[in-house]
Amino acid sequence: MSLRAVSKHFDDVVAVDSVDLDIGDGEFFALLGPSGCGKTTTLRMIAGLEIPSAGSLKIFGSEVGPLPPNRRPVNTVFQNYALFPHMSVADNVGFGLRMSKTPKADVARRVSEAISLVRMGGMENRRPAQLSGGQQQRVALARALVNRPKVLLLDEPLAALDLKLRQEMQFELKQLQREVGITFVFVTHDQEEALALSDRIGVMDSGRLLQVGTPEEIYDAPVDRFVADFIGRSNFLAGTLEAHDRVCLANGDRVTVPSVADGVVSVGDAVQVSLRPERVMIDRAGAAPEGHASLEGEVATVTFLGNSIVYRVALDWMTIEVETDHRPDLDRHEVGDRVAMWWRDDAIAVVRP
């Protein structure tokens, strides 16, 4: 599937702004972003529920941009599942097949296959209202998959479930995708969900697609302050890119950075250095090993989280958050202590401010 310069305007509001995106066959792809970032509109354009204002949208090489949803090889699992309340589970699952005039015998066989695929056997005659949230989710999956779409779209598939069930369904969803082998595209605002489920993630904000990459790439090498901030937590140190691998921080210190890819930022640009709290080492002042960039400051707050401890360390020009494991062999620092912080050169990323 490929999107080229796809845009969508609602009157004067630009919901999706010239998105280019390729999604491979059999990929599990997440569109991640805060609410109102255009991810759902993008999904709805792929589904055919919205017609793009401009651009090209191809699925397996054929242009589908202007086609209505009932003439596309994609199916959708809606956010609240949108199961038909007046139909049984079996009738819900068979709806698409009946609408596309599949022979009756085929319908019955494929419906029961799909129902057992999502492990809902024995529930065929229940009404959606008699099912739990997780079961409804499964029926919605079966109802979409039974049509053998080339692409399955999922709109916030797990948002309506409680935490425990959500984790369980994440696992099942991944399993299911491997079993059926088709492309899954899902929309979520939950970064953990995106990281856990997908092969690749596209991060969106204000209608633009900011970065596409594997979960590791997105986490380790965000290109943009927004991406770094939205996925995980990060400290941002302002500075200027002096050379491909060197940044001059706002306090005058120079730090070595992983060499910056072309096109993201260029030498001379104002940049920010993204520093993940768990990648910062912390010790008594003066204890920083040689050969590392380091900063010194005073512990302002200590927050105990069970498996970890979060320190907020005040420098004279900013505050840095540090997360360390809670282990008996590590020194515990108290409020007011002078501490040193350092990191490996490859632990940080240079991002657009």
């Binding site: 080229r4 310069a5 280019d20 017609i51 793009p52 204002s53 401009a54 651009g55 090209s56 242009e63 941009g65 202007p66």
Partner: protein
Amino acid sequence: MTVLPDADALETALGEAERRGEVAERRRGLLLALPSFAYMVLFFAVPLVIVLVYSFATRTSSGSTALSDWNLEAYRKLGEPIVRNVVIRSVVLALITTVLCLVIAYPFAYFCATRSATVRNLLLVAVMIPFWTNFLVRNYAWRLLLSSGGPISSFTESIGLGPTEILFTKTAVVIGLVYAYLPFMILPLFASIDRLDWRLVEASRDLYASGPASFRKVVLPLTMPGVIAGSILVFVPSMGAYVTPELLGGGKETLLGSYIVTQFLTARNWPVGASLSFVLMAVMLVSTIIYFRAGGKNL
């Protein structure tokens, strides 16, 4: 990114498809609305305009209406004592009806809202049933009850109070109106009392309010939208009532509704009837706007 050779053409095609989709959607909506839209224009809007036009026309001496010499004579007539008295009498009766309904309905709605779900539903259905029952029959029942020698009169006579002679009086009309429109008061009141957050009442008690004080300072203000909505729902139809005053007032107490009907069916003064109908409708429109402002739509 590979640039498609026909990218521009495709963009135009897509924009076109998007526009076509919207146009088709609007056309579908219009087609769906059109039959009833046309019906409502022909058989409702046009008649409304005709009434407006007639209210500026002149009544000829033969009783027909001349559609010329447009003037405000009919509206000026509304200031004359006869018409003015009719209007004042209607307003007073409608106000009395509204206040009575409020006084009777508020405790009832409060009682309903504080019952268990089963009792509450039972009580509400009990209120709804008369509301669905034939309006004429409900009025007739009172005519029967109040008739001289009828059940109520016989009863008061047997306990030594003498016969009751209230049929064909204002009292009878008010009883009939309260009976007819009480459910209109109960239902919005119930809705707003039911929605009341009881923790606020608890909070007021915690802050040293006595029972009556917390009712006055918390419950009543918070259920005011229901009071306003119910009052309008009762006042408005009481103002325009025709059947009830005719049957229970015996035509002795001419009210607005009856007066308008007379202008058409007997006095044959269409301009005055038309102008009065229009004024009546204006009152309803203003009341409705107040009703929506008070959040009546949600009740």
